[in-house]
Symmetry: C2
Subunit: 152 residues, 2 copies
């Protein structure tokens, strides 16, 4: 039973830790007047502009749902659609200046809060945890929903 006990430990640990991260993410979003989904959109777009298709794949949304999310973000002045010069069907979604500023602030606040979740770990444990999570993220090809480091 030792082995199955350890396995359940990983699963419950991952699920509950995710719950904490979600809560912290929601708190940050709220602080900046965003919904979680809008915050996620901004964080993804911090890296580069996306077409609607890629954006949906990255966020795990159907295209029909994404249209509304982008619409609302456009209405708030956070992102804009730009026609793709090479394909008149396609658009690029990118941050506005205001959106970029808000994204940076939200990203920083979220980093700070998530970092605090791990406050009780010493540096070696943090490094170990980072390495283990890095393996999971890599092996499962988690999309870039949150940058490793801020673009300079």
């Amino acid at each position: 039973m030792g082995k199955s006990g350890a396995e359940l430990g990983v699963v419950a640990g991952l699920v509950r830790a995710s719950f904490l991260v979600n809560a912290v993410y929601a708190e940050s979003a709220r602080e900046y007047g965003l919904t979680v989904q809008q915050g996620q959109l901004l964080c993804v777009l911090m890296g580069r502009p996306y077409g609607m298709g890629d954006l949906g794949a990255t966020l795990g949304l159907e295209k029909s749902g994404l249209t509304g999310l982008v619409d609302r973000a456009v209405r708030r002045g956070l992102v804009r659609r730009e026609p793709d010069p090479d394909d008149r069907r396609a658009v690029h979604v990118l941050l506005t200046g205001e959106g970029h500023e808000l994204a940076e602030d939200f990203y920083a606040a979220t980093c700070r809060r998530v970092d605090e979740l791990a406050a009780s770990l010493g540096t070696p444990d943090r490094d170990r945890l980072a390495a283990l999570l890095g393996t999971i993220v890599r092996e499962n090809e988690a999309p870039t929903v949150f940058l490793d480091t801020v673009q300079r």
Copy 2:
């Protein structure tokens, strides 16, 4: 910069791993015709019945939002409200027979999927990861949104 690099690694690792867990959770929920929130409700109630207040605190919801969530779960026959004999204002929310069965199945499927996220880790790494996440969960007092082990 070595230290700050490691710190960002933990943060990005936690956020992206959470994204993976969320996606897997959503996939499980969908498989069983549930929304994520309904799945979460069932998983919490697997442990024991809750009053609306405790349930809101556990799930991180305002009471007004919780009423609707429970209403819809009642309509689907998954949970029921029972008057608290000691306090005529209060109710206990608990799983119906059908809800209990569905919760077990959903829980098992989710466990399997989350476990697969860590498939590339060997047993020692899994144990280390479980221990590190366990520390975070404990230090931040993550509510019991997902049982450690199924109740027998």
